[in-house]
């Protein structure tokens, strides 16, 4: 089973999904993230899904779950790198990915996590 590495920079945890996620990898990732959040006290989680070509309800649930876990540790989650086709699929499936924010790329995602994003007018 391949594990997804979690990188810590400052108060943010970076996760870049580059593999096909199977059940075991997902559960492992959620566990690893929970551990890292507890140990580091990170305030933000950035999940990069640029490499994810297909997002189904399984992946959608995983992302929502990660969002919930992070919130329990008072951390915010931002998903970045979503492809247009994936966005369309998620919308068609009616998966709103509640509990997580999304941004176009890692740079914008970081701005949100660091609180520098503009307030909604």
């Amino acid at each position: 089973m391949e594990t997804v590495p979690i990188l810590k920079i400052g108060l943010t945890l970076f996760v870049s999904i580059q593999i096909d996620l199977q059940d075991e990898s997902v559960i492992q990732l959620q566990e690893d993230l929970a551990n890292e959040l507890a140990v580091t006290g990170a305030r933000g989680v950035l999940i990069d899904i640029t490499g994810v070509e297909i997002v189904d309800s399984f992946i959608g649930r995983m992302l929502s779950t990660i969002g919930s876990i992070s919130r329990l540790f008072d951390a915010e989650t931002v998903i970045v790198g979503m492809r247009p086709a994936v966005a369309i699929t998620l919308t068609e499936l009616g998966l709103s990915l509640s509990g997580v924010r999304t941004a176009l790329n890692a740079e914008k995602g970081l701005k949100i996590l660091n609180g520098k994003s503009r307030p909604d007018g």
Partner: protein, 284 residues
């Protein structure tokens, strides 16, 4: 009536009087062409068709029928391209009967043979009509696709602000195309804000609203906030009476208002360059 024997006999007759028949046929077709074709072009085309028809009638070989069909389809296509009506093209084929009849009118023993020819030519004329229809359908389909492409531009209003001016009815096919183009542009430009202007959309019903909502949801997943502008008073009343809810999506009357909102959200302000002149009244 022995069709194949008659077919062979008329084929022989036609071969014998080849030049006369082709000549007369050409005259008739050119007369009906009203100057759009030259006699030489027509004669060449008809000579080809003639020899194929003779081969089919005499059942000389198996390929003749297929070649004749292909030649007719090509004739149909080129006539259509040159602006001939399908009737004109079909009539051109039918006049072969007239040309032959003029020759055999007095020879009553050739009646059954003429009938075989007549039936064949009728079928051929109809085939040109069908080929014409099929060609026109293809053109219409191509034009529809082209129109669909043309009618969904995505323009940049400002740094990080893009707009999609929609004109015409928003059906499922167009809505899908709009959504895809909008998302691709968001990715390509890194836009934070998109304005979807529906001034040019004649009717906004529940279906149109659903398309818009889906597009906004998808754009949000890419981190772009959307505003819908171009809500006309009549449209506003329709939307409310249909019970359509736009939720937390901002809607504005004009593209200008939406641009103002987007600029504010981007933390930008528009101020007069000369403070002494009072600015034009800016709503909200």
């Amino acid at each position: 009536m022995d069709v194949s024997a008659s077919g062979t006999r008329i084929a022989d007759y036609l071969r014998e009087h080849q030049d006369k028949v082709i000549g007369r046929w050409t005259e008739l077709v050119v007369a009906g062409g009203r100057g759009r074709t030259t006699a030489d072009e027509v004669r060449r085309e008809l000579a080809d068709l003639f020899s194929l028809i003779v081969r089919v009638l005499s059942r000389a070989d198996d390929h003749a029928a297929g070649e004749l069909r292909a030649a007719l389809d090509e004739l149909s296509r080129s006539r259509a391209r040159d602006g001939f009506s399908p009737s004109e093209t079909a009539l051109g084929v039918f006049t072969l009967k007239e040309a032959v009849y003029e020759l055999v009118a007095d020879a009553t023993d050739l009646m059954p043979e003429f009938l075989v020819l007549s039936q064949l030519v009728d079928g051929l004329g109809l085939r040109t009509f069908e080929a014409y229809s099929a060609a026109r359908e293809e053109i219409i389909a191509d034009q529809s696709t082209a129109m669909l492409e043309l009618s969904t531009p995505v323009v940049r209003l400002w740094e990080g602000i893009i707009a999609v001016p929609l004109v015409g009815t928003l059906d499922s096919a167009r809505a899908q195309l709009v959504m895809e183009k909008l998302l691709e542009t968001v990715v390509a430009t890194g836009a934070d804000h998109a304005v979807i202007d529906i001034t040019g959309v004649p009717t906004v019903d529940t279906e149109v609203a659903q398309h818009l909502l889906k597009t906004v949801s998808a754009a949000r997943l890419l981190g772009a906030e959307c505003t819908i502008s171009g809500i006309r008073p009549q449209v506003a009343q329709t939307i409310v009476s249909l019970g359509i809810e736009f939720g937390d999506i901002a809607t504005k009357a004009t593209l200008a208002d939406a641009l103002g909102l987007a600029l504010r959200q981007a933390g930008l302000k528009v101020v007069p360059s000369n403070p002494l002149h009072s600015p034009p009244s800016a709503r909200d």
